[in-house]
Symmetry: D2
Subunit: 309 residues, 4 copies
């Protein structure tokens, strides 16, 4: 097997040189300003060794990657009852489609499309003030990322809130079927804020370790979730983690992963490593273009695909 | 790790005793007669050792499981050009939906829904007589299954042909967009016949070994496909192999798998085993009910999920 | 031709006796309390003669019938530019469907489905305070209905506002495409209030006279709209006025008409009469059951269908 | 009222001079050859007086206009039982959409979209040889058009048959739900042939007279259908006769009408006239561009809209 440090360094060099960088998301004004020439990669193996390169210490907006962690939190709170409010099938539609909600009476297909993540946020909020719920999510990220400085980028949250009309539509639509229980403004407030958490690749790879190691943090020995739950979250990441590009990501990369429109991807090589990559330019399905290319390189060279040794 | 023979035996005993057996497919008249009280399981590990139980030697109609092998054949014939005619994303719709075809101008979402498998069959047929194409598919199955007696159940093929109006609709619809190149009758004739191949769990598990071992048959050393292609076929099986129940199968079983309405499932534990299970009763999504339950047990007890050690 | 007074009286007697009364709308709590055993009918001919019977003086919530008048107002304000914001084709979907909005990028199919009427309300609101816009709509109704006592039922408006999540979804969805220009809360506030206007059959038939007489009120001689515009509004009423039951209404009644979930229907016999009918029980498509039956009787006996002498 | 002959002559002159002629249908190869510079108009009033101009004697392929007459025939055969096999609501979708069929389990929305007309043809075929059914349809057209020379253009029928894959898809799809009872090839054979009937504007206007005059031919006094049925067929023409441009046609022309992709339109001014217009160039919704413009002129100048005097 090739040396991980070498592989990470070579990937970072290749990505820095590539001219094809995708398109920075423009529908959240604050994100549209981000320089597309950035690329960061951080890989943490089972011994806690970090191989990182490029802009791996730069903070970026994790956006939908937060949905992995809010799913984890909500499952911790109400367990399998969560699945009454959200499904776990790929949607076959773009990330913000409302068509499926009409056909399935307000129950989103999975927790990683926008509607599903809003429903999950509503579960976390239940019986709390928005501020408390948000505090809980943030403390969870600080705990998993081992860094109390992890914070919400308020400018991004405000920007998203001002322009998030489509998410408001999704939320009101679900509320009309009783799938959202709290006031829509509260639920969306928490949702927009947890999507606006800013993290570096290193912090994100650290936070994802429990998914790579049967629910445990292998350094601290802390159990975040049971082994079964970790496997199941990984399964949902693989089938649903890249919106309508999930099949493509599985086909090319072969790892469970979750992308965000900020350009980040968290990927999990079970038993081997937690990986975070970031490059702001997106492909047509709304996933980081170079992030996916870099992960394809990494799994090919390391032999980490879950679909073959 | 528990002993595989023991696990297989215990699963077979449990399944034989369960009262919940799903519903036998009734839309193909010949299949409606099958006794729902049957259950078979065969597991072949990397050393070629077979652990089998129940009705593992009984022949059943593999139906859509043939799509894994026709996909393999078509990729061997025209390589990645295949992806101009069919996608590789989960469909988010039932197996025989025509809605998606209208939205995406006749290009099916993946090779494992009916429309996609018909398009793949059309590629195999190209430039041949239906009889020749069918002969090629059958010889491929005999070669992989190491059994020259593997044959088509003509009664099932005829039954399917007589009642397969919805598949005719899919085929003509694709032809109206130029996605089907041969006469629809020819393509459907080959399609209905390869779906009517009859195999036992043991034969099917044998045929699937190359997918579990990087494209090689580990006993003979024959290379069927490249390691990369094996991984990619597995990826499509995981995201699309169980129609609109693919997410559920990944969530519960955690292995690439392909089901058929005859009640069979071929599953692949990469690097470990090729698995075939059969029980005729189906769940709501059209997948074998006890087949899925049995595979869930097997992966839990053997620790074979691709999503965690 | 039979005597109109006699026909109206006989219809009122028949309707009072019928046991099939449809189902009172329950999704707006205030409307759910209405007694289903009510029925009213008022017909005003070209000489201003009123034939009325049953509960023709009882106030009811006009609900979507207000959309005819807001369309008239909005066309008066911005003319054919309105058609950039809303189409004029039947929707082929239930009144509150959001599917079509996704396919057609936020532009509703016609001004009589909820989404379209919200877009029309947004046009009327433009540049005004909600209170002013609402005042203008109300004064228009009082002018047309020749009764300054016509008012909004605030309890219905409040009830609708509290439970109108689906309309909020439609509005935010359109806003995400720029079709709604004002704050969603403002536009919906005006929308919920004009739907909550309470009128009697007599007032409503009076208000609809201009549509039956080439845009003129035949008694006062006041021109409300041009003859061409009156014809065009009638055309939209005929093709789109009864949601997904518009074809059925045209087939059975043969007149332009607009229904509301309060159980009212305004119908227009061009050159002959303005007609208002009310019975609270609805059919499956959300239109007044006995209202439609009564209109079918009326047009058959009077020979008023636009589709034959 | 202006003189009809003068109005017809002026419209023909204006249409001959206009540069905007729409696009000739190219999906049926035989129709693609037709010269777009042709325009014909024939109007027959209640006294049987014909006002005609342009290419009003030229034969053209009536295409979907035949659906008005097959609907009339099928209603004559099985009456209101027809409505178990086809609806009468506007579709809100293009003429050849299959999406709606999936949602409504194989029952087409109305008899004027392709799927609906195929279902109606299947009713006419029932229990007959295709040749007999076709003979009956043709004789009906000859009788109504008062011309035994009216015939099928076999080249168009063959051309349509060879390329009508989408119609095959619709038919097989309906057959999968049991809505089509005869062999699909038979039903489609009859369908393709009756769409290929060739008629002139004069013949077509003659054939449509019964719809303008309460089911009677006003010259012969023959009753084709009851007055009620004539009104109802007109109603369906108005709401559904121009596919997804039906609302637009009602809005601009204000008459019941049925278009065909050959460029013809049959329109009915109840109590006044039967009108046929033809110009091969189509608009985006598949309806004759100049045909619609000419009818708009005609109804405006003659005051014939059903929506106002």
């Amino acid at each position: 097997m090739p040396d991980l440090d070498t592989v990470v360094r070579e990937i970072c060099e290749e990505m820095a040189a590539r001219p094809d960088r995708g398109t920075v998301a423009d529908y959240i004004p604050e994100l549209a300003h981000v320089d597309p020439n950035q690329f960061g990669l951080a890989v943490i193996d089972g011994d806690g060794r970090v191989s990182a390169g490029g802009d791996s210490e730069t903070l970026f907006s994790i956006q939908s990657i937060s949905k992995v962690f809010t799913l984890t939190l909500a499952l911790g709170m109400i367990g399998d009852r969560l699945w009454r409010r959200v499904g776990r099938e790929p949607s076959g539609n773009p990330f913000n489609s409302i068509v499926q909600l009409e056909r399935e009476r307000g129950v989103p297909r999975n927790p990683f499309i926008n509607a599903g993540a809003i429903a999950v946020t509503d579960v976390i909020l239940s019986g709390h003030e928005p501020r408390e719920a948000l505090g809980e999510i943030l403390r969870f990220m600080q705990f998993l990322g081992k860094d109390p400085s992890i914070a919400i980028d308020e400018k991004v949250a405000a920007s998203e809130r001002r322009t998030g009309f489509r998410n408001s539509a999704l939320a009101y639509y679900m509320k009309s079927f009783g799938v959202i229980e709290n006031p829509v403004d509260y639920t969306l407030g928490v949702y927009f804020h947890h999507c606006a958490i800013a993290m570096s690749c290193r912090q994100l790879a650290t936070a994802g370790q429990f998914l790579a190691h049967n629910g445990l943090n292998p350094q601290t020995g802390f159990s975040v979730v049971s082994a079964e739950r970790a496997r199941r979250i990984n399964a949902i990441m693989l089938t649903c983690g890249h919106y309508d590009g999930s099949g493509e990501f599985a086909y090319r990369v072969g790892l469970p992963g979750k992308s965000g429109v900020g350009g980040g991807i968290l990927a999990v090589a079970p038993g081997r490593a937690s990986i975070a990559v970031w490059s702001p330019g997106l492909d047509e399905a709304g996933n980081s273009h170079l992030g996916r290319v870099a992960l394809e390189r990494l799994t090919q060279r390391m032999g980490w695909s879950v679909f073959g040794v």
